[in-house]
């Protein structure tokens, strides 16, 4: 049998070096490191101890490179307004693979309304045929994400849906949500919802700050997120439902989740979008629409509290919140422009350059927050198990890439990285 050997690769989470023997198609048993089952690997040995046959044709010397589980993204959108849906899926898949992501959960959007079997079938078919990356759709909480009528959860679950979300929308009908949670709890589904009170955040565009005052933009109060999180937690606790708090952006939001986890009364997990760990409201500068996101970029104290939340596990995962927007849309004024930025294309290099390299996050924390924890939340089983296996990637920290339109497979330009250099080269799949 023809194997590929990887010599002397450093296992990123703990810094130990190993040799790996890879075999396409697998060999039955899946070896583990740190309890992680690794796809496509049939043997692991400490560096230098693996017997590599003299005639082996495919040997990669990975000295100086890191090996780690590929990332899993719990929150991405693929739709590109006005473009072909299959092409959008294909592009997002390429972007994710380039960024070191092997699988992701796709949020419903205007064009991808996952509230019926047909749209899930269309999506799955397109993913199978067009995407190099695994994509799992999040089913809608309400029909059309309109916030009123419950989607058919059992029908969605039968099509493999484990997570329910109304995407950018947050249901404001609490009676509906309470009943939906009670019903879906018995199906083992997880509600992924952002903390928000829509009445408080409608027609707001920035964190209330020097920036919102200077630019004359109405401020999005932090209390809206905090009230929203508390509300969702209390409903979920009462209904016995699993809840996943999306894109936490405020320090107090982190604190509320920390208290809820400590109380043990509610099955809660939480995420932060990568951009909320990297930028603050000042980045908006003179109406730079790239930095228009929901919830808005907040201040440095919030950013620091979010990172602390990731480090102590209050925030389970970092997500891309990848949102491609056509260039024309982002050229409009700040109020008219759509929200969101893309992140998948250089996801792991950005995480490395901005968080790991400066010492803000360890590799072990990164693997937990960007791979194992999100994969476990998205796992089809009810027992917190991991997906069957996670592929490995090689990461070369010495490589530097300048981001340009030519190396953004997602096909849109709404990323603050444009023109900037990021460190790290990703090899995926091995």
């Amino acid at each position: 049998m023809n194997h590929t050997y990887i010599k002397n690769a450093t296992w990123a989470p703990n810094g130990a070096a190993y040799d790996f023997r890879l075999s396409l198609g697998g060999c039955g048993s899946t070896p583990c490191i740190d309890g992680l089952p690794l796809t496509g690997v049939d043997a692991i040995a400490p560096a230098g101890t693996m017997d590599i046959p003299a005639g082996a044709t495919s040997v990669i010397d990975a000295t100086g490179k890191l090996i780690l589980p590929a990332l899993f993204d719990l929150h991405a959108k693929v739709e590109i307004d006005g473009r072909n849906k299959r092409e959008a899926i294909s592009r997002a898949g390429q972007a994710a693979q380039q960024g070191g992501v092997w699988g992701m959960v796709i949020m419903p959007t205007k064009g991808f309304v996952f509230d019926n079997a047909a749209s899930l079938d269309f999506f799955r078919h397109a993913v199978t045929n067009r995407s190099v990356t695994e994509m799992m759709p999040a089913g809608c909480i309400t029909m059309g994400c309109e916030g009123e009528q419950q989607a058919p959860y059992n029908t969605l679950a039968a099509r493999g849906v484990n997570i329910l979300s109304d995407g950018e929308h947050v249901p404001s009908n609490l009676l509906m949500l309470h009943r939906a949670m009670k019903y879906a709890a018995e199906l083992g589904l997880t509600f992924a919802i952002r903390g928000d009170v829509p009445a408080l955040t409608e027609k707001t565009y920035a964190h209330p700050s020097t920036t919102s005052y200077r630019l004359g933009l109405h401020g999005t109060p932090a209390c809206a997120e905090e009230i929203g999180i508390e509300t969702v937690l209390r409903l979920a606790a009462d209904a016995g439902a699993k809840v996943h708090i999306q894109t936490v952006s405020t320090a107090e939001g982190v604190e509320i989740i920390r208290r809820a986890k400590a109380s043990g009364k509610v099955k809660v997990t939480a995420e932060v979008a990568l951009h909320h760990l990297l930028y603050t409201h000042e980045a908006i500068g003179d109406y730079d629409t790239t930095f228009k996101v929901i919830p808005p970029l907040r201040d440095a104290a919030d950013r620091d509290a979010l990172l602390a939340g990731v480090k102590d596990g209050t925030i389970d995962c970092i997500v891309s919140d990848h949102t491609p927007c056509i260039p024309f849309a982002k050229k409009q004024d700040f109020i008219s422009a759509p929200q969101g930025m893309t992140a998948l294309d250089f996801y792991l290099p950005t995480l490395y350059t901005e968080l790991v390299k400066p010492g803000k996050l360890t590799w072990a924390e990164l693997v937990r927050a960007c791979c194992t924890a999100p994969a476990a939340i998205a796992a089809p089983s009810d027992d917190e198990g991991l997906p069957a296996a996670i592929p490995l990637l090689l990461f070369d920290p010495a490589e530097t890439v300048t981001v340009s339109a030519d190396n953004l497979p997602s096909g849109t330009l709404n990323t603050p990285l444009l023109g900037k250099a990021v460190c790290g080269g990703v090899t995926l799949p091995l």
Partner: protein, 306 residues
């Protein structure tokens, strides 16, 4: 001075430019007061007013200013145009540029639109008010009016009273006055005055504190109920809490302070009737100076179409 294409905000101008525009407004005023005199500065140029929000005063003021400088003026009426059919701002501007427009005077409810237009076209773009962001021509006419009244802006104290949160006038006027060495304070209903930490401007909550601060000018903002869907304060309280009542007018008169207001005035809300007839009420001066300030602004800009 490098030629400037657009006037979007006061922040974007150098102090030298601010002084130059104010000085040129002084010259423009002399010409303006000589009946019927038309200056040749914009002769052969085409000025277009593009108001996405209703406005009579600012628009007329700009049109008059452009005509006094010899320009051709076109009024683009949004309500009866392709805009209501869903045309994007970019496409509207492309259409207008095909008509060889040199100056576009724009007002829009969205903060930041004039900058988008300025980047997109060769015409000189003047921001005539964008959302709660900026209203630089108002700032110039206010600064000019104070300079005319007191000889200088430096060292004067101006308190701006009312809905600061939604006011582009408060932002631009406080900006220019501070750039010229004045001190500015804000007063108004709690939810409508952003914290000093965001604005860098002291914030009062009542008239006693205002009088104690010894202002030279009381600048009242219009209560813009048309912009507010959910009330920020009980409207019936406004005059009693923040308006110039007869009693406060007496105090203002005793101290010989000036009153300013960007108009249109809501009588009985921001100002009692008598305040409009007060000897130091500068509201009509502001309106007249609006034309000359706008002449100076148009004269200062250089479209990339030339």
């Amino acid at each position: 001075m490098t030629p400037r294409k657009d006037l979007l905000t006061i922040e974007s101008l150098s102090t030298e430019e601010i002084h130059a525009i104010l000085d040129s407004a002084t010259e423009m005023k002399a010409a303006f007061l000589r009946d019927g005199e038309q200056l040749p500065n914009l002769h052969g140029r085409s000025v277009l007013t593009l108001f996405y929000e209703p406005s009579t005063r600012t628009r007329s003021s700009f049109e008059l200013a452009a005509r006094r400088l010899g320009a051709d003026v076109t009024t683009f009426t949004v309500a009866t145009s392709s805009v209501v059919k869903g045309e994007s701002v970019h496409d509207t501007i492309d259409t207008l540029m095909s008509m060889k427009v040199d100056y576009i005077i724009v007002r829009h409810k969205n903060s930041g639109i004039p900058a988008v237009i300025g980047r997109h076209c060769k015409a000189a773009v003047v921001n005539a008010g964008d959302g709660a962001h900026a209203h630089p021509s108002q700032a110039f006419l206010d600064a000019f009016t104070i300079r005319e009244k007191y000889g200088t802006v430096a060292g004067k104290r101006i308190v701006i009273i009312g809905d600061i949160l939604h006011s582009r006038v408060a932002r631009s006027t406080s900006n220019i006055l501070r750039r010229l060495g004045a001190e500015v304070a804000y007063m108004g209903p709690g939810p409508l005055v952003p914290p000093t930490a965001h604005t860098g401007i002291p914030r009062f909550t009542d008239w006693d504190a205002v009088f104690e601060w010894k202002p030279d000018v009381i600048y009242l903002l219009r209560v813009q109920n048309e912009r507010i869907d959910t009330p920020f304060f009980p409207a019936a309280d406004y005059h009693r809490s923040f308006g110039v009542t007869e009693e406060r007018l007496q105090r203002i008169a005793d101290l010989d302070l000036s009153i300013m207001h960007p108009g249109p005035v809501n009588r009985g809300v921001e100002l009692c009737d008598a305040a409009m007839d007060y000897r130091n009420c500068l509201v009509c001066n502001q309106v007249q100076n609006g034309v000359v300030a706008r002449m100076a602004i148009l004269n200062h800009l250089t479209p990339a179409t030339l």
